[in-house]
Subunit: 505 residues, 2 copies
């Protein structure tokens, strides 16, 4: 075995992480010998840690040892207590505002200007919004026909995206938190990749009315089909085909143009993380985020339960007090939401996270926030709220990949950058997803599904700035349509799972 | 206009319902003249009702008049207060056990015996369960290939059904109510229409593990594919195709046989109801339910918020005290669930219900429970609990069509009978849905989508027992595969929206 066997992240850490599976009895550092076999990405104690002693990684407290731990021991998820999360009332702001961000090597990209203004599109899709799940069966059949019969006539259109979801009816539409799913669906309808063309399919009796979804002015016959008004299934399909044809003809006129980075909105998310996610993939994404922000671009990061334990560090990066206070409020809201359901943030890590060496949510969160890079946080958004600033933005969403994805999508992201340790074949139909893996082994396992491997950071084959800049260039390649993501190539699209914390009826 | 213009349901009622749109000034009954134009299905006051006076339909209190109502006035949803719901602590049981049910004209049907015992199948599908949404993108691509390349080789298999859902990860898997979605997915995997063949697709790092979904014994390589263990996308598709081929070959041996009605499980649901639903479609379904039960069959009805206001009447039909108490408990659970989200049962009716003449949830519920017919209630099931008895069973689910459908489906229904007033093109991929409309106008609007029109009950062209028996025969025709439902014919399938009252992370 060549090169280092373990990785120490912060000088204060009393653990290191195994870069590869290590047998018991391996000398990993001078005087430090593994006492058990250590799985890849798992932690090894650098010193004896007595019961109750602090376990430190990333220079922060992951938790306290439940029992005595000896130098060279494998430290896994059963062995430490979860510490109290950072206090939200005493958070500071503005004490860590980095201004010397790295300079981006490229300052423009090729996108579709949005007729409504705002961030530009990265693809040219006909998006078909639905008010309610009831219409999805018919719409899916019609979309198949549109793809077969209409799309080939419009070579400048990249595809047709039905926005199917399970909200819209059978829900408490006036409940306290109902504004969250409603806002998400309202924003999805106007995603920049849909070029300002609205096509809305409703049933005619649902609670989420077309007027509520797109506004009374736009809920007009040019944009809206109500299935209850059509003559049978054949009438429905005819109406859908006819409207799609009209919209496709207009979308077919769209062309890319050279745009500044300030027209680009990127979402950062991670899923299926391992203990390397916070060392390779997420820091590379963070470096790319810094380059984007330095060039005038806008980057979202999200996932409340995965920033909760590092939120004090984010507070210090908020540009003003209201931003920091809103960040704290989003954490409080989610703490209460979980508590009402008899859960807390410790419910977040998955069996895969644990197999991947993440001992608890503190360790996962410290890795997760690395994707935000180092730039100041200029805005904090509640779920479904749309960005109004440029720069690094915290958009509160659940951490669940399947729900965070559509939430970020609704805010208008042109590309999602998705960091994974264990691997997930995740994709979104309405925007390209660049999958970034944390280890070379993952890329070897899924060579056709992983778009970008951050593993060379671990092996020392490349530095973090080098990989971050490569990822930045990859983002611009995909955003500009010069490259397809793996998910696009194989048509891998996950459902639009809309966050609905309100009850159904 | 021929025949009666209005319909009075119960001798004690002080309102009638307009059978067709009526202009102001129409004499609808001797001495009763409409004072405003009355939309079809809406209510007309038979007498002067002072402010605070009771408005009675179905012989029950719909609510109290908010202001004076004059004889001949149109009574719509803004005009009455919602009464207190029936008290759950003082409910009686066993005081109304009907024993003289009508005799069924047919006593057998043709179904697929379930190798595991229990209710029989009505279709022969390869069902593909998923542990987590992450795998859906890949699975959907593979299913398309299976349908194209494999299915034509197995003529006795009716289709391939992926059970995609948004549960499985990013959820609080140990939360208080997490057993509900988990139970639903566990049961769906073993639906009788899947012939006992388990095929499970997991990712490999999710919280809902394959062992949790199908049990440790069945989570074996014969039934389980983990995408993280495959070599890239091509490896995943290869593994999926290979397993599907093996399962399809076994399913291809299944044949229908003549079975007693006791092997049949039918679900009753309504959606997009109007004020006729409780007069034509739901009572016809109730009559068919009585015939099924009299013949030894089993019928489920559901939808908590749509029985809440008539629950005292259902209590009287419970065969014993524990059954009644469990019914009350399910109502209490849902009352609290809604309250926690800042809502109550009044959130149930939709704009379409109101357009269709349903003034509030009391009126909707009284129509809704008519689909249970008149037989005794032998069992009450919590969400996701599977039936253990034969006869009429109350299976608690949300009323939302999109959520009630998969909930009933998970319990093993062979056919769902779906009553609609306003019309919804609803369908389930794993079991046929018979759509029954309440009015002739609806069938005229959607002639190809409505399977059965109960409108002749309103026009006097047929009696309730005649239509109920016709519907009973239709259910057996579809269950036996001699007839396809409209949803099957057009491939209209709604998503599997799994009820998850627990938080996500």
């Amino acid at each position: 075995m060549e090169g280092p066997l373990v990785l120490k992240i912060h000088p204060n850490d009393n653990v290191v992480v195994a870069l590869q599976p290590l047998p018991a009895g391996t000398t990993v550092l001078p005087g430090i010998v593994t006492r058990q076999p250590i799985p890849q990405a798992h932690k090894i104690a650098l010193v004896d840690i007595p019961a109750g002693g602090a376990i430190l990684r990333y220079g922060v407290l992951l938790g306290h040892a439940k029992a005595d731990i000896a130098q060279g021991d494998w430290i896994h998820e059963g062995m430490l207590d979860l510490p109290t999360p950072p206090d939200l009332d005493s958070m500071r702001w503005g004490t860590h505002l980095v201004t010397d961000l790295p300079a981006p090597p490229v300052s423009s990209w090729e996108g579709y200007r949005n007729p409504a203004g705002g961030f530009a599109g990265t693809r040219n899709y006909l998006g078909i919004s639905t008010t309610v799940q009831c219409v999805s069966g018919v719409l899916n059949v019609a979309v198949e026909r549109m793809r077969r019969e209409l799309l080939p006539r419009y070579p400048h259109v990249d595809g047709i995206v039905p926005i199917n979801h399970t909200y819209g009816c059978g829900v408490a539409i006036n409940a306290r938190e109902a504004h969250i799913p409603i806002r998400i669906l309202q924003s999805l309808a106007r995603h920049p990749n849909f070029g300002g063309e609205l096509m809305v399919v409703g049933l005619g009796c649902e609670k989420l009315t077309p007027e509520m979804l797109v506004g009374a002015e736009d809920a007009n016959p040019d944009n809206l089909i109500l299935l209850q008004e059509q003559k049978g299934f054949e009438g429905m399909v005819h109406a859908l085909m006819e409207m799609a044809d009209r919209k496709l003809a207009r979308l077919n006129e769209r062309r890319r143009e050279s745009l500044p980075l300030s027209d680009l909105l990127i979402g950062m998310q991670c899923g299926g993380s391992d203990a390397f996610s916070g060392v390779s993939a997420n820091p590379a994404a963070g470096y790319a985020a810094d380059l984007l922000v330095a060039g005038g671009g806008t980057v979202l990061f999200s996932e409340v339960t995965e920033v909760r334990d590092g939120v004090h560090l984010l507070g210090e990066r908020c540009v003003d007090e209201p931003t920091m206070r809103k960040l704290a409020d989003e954490m409080r809201w989610y703490d209460r939401y979980l508590e009402a359901g008899g859960a807390d943030r410790s419910a977040n890590p998955t069996p895969g996270n644990k197999k991947g060496g993440l001992a608890n949510i503190v360790e996962k969160a410290m890795g997760s926030i690395a994707k935000s890079g180092s730039s100041p946080i200029v805005e904090v958004l509640s779920p479904g709220e749309r960005p109004t600033k440029h720069g690094l933005i915290y958009a509160a969403t659940p951490a669940s990949d399947i729900v965070c994805g559509p939430s970020q999508l609704s805010l208008g992201i042109g590309v999602q950058v998705f960091m994974t340790g264990r691997g997930t074949p995740y994709g979104l139909a309405a925007a390209p997803v660049i999958k970034v893996c944390s280890r070379n082994e993952m890329q070897a396992q899924w060579p056709d599904l992983i778009d970008f491997c951050a593993g060379p950071i671990l092996t020392g084959e490349a530095t973090l700035p080098e990989m971050g800049e490569r990822l930045f260039r990859e983002i611009l390649e995909v955003a500009s349509g010069r490259k397809q993501s793996a998910a696009e190539r194989f048509h891998l699209y996950n459902d639009i799972a809309v966050f609905n914390p309100a009850p159904i009826t």
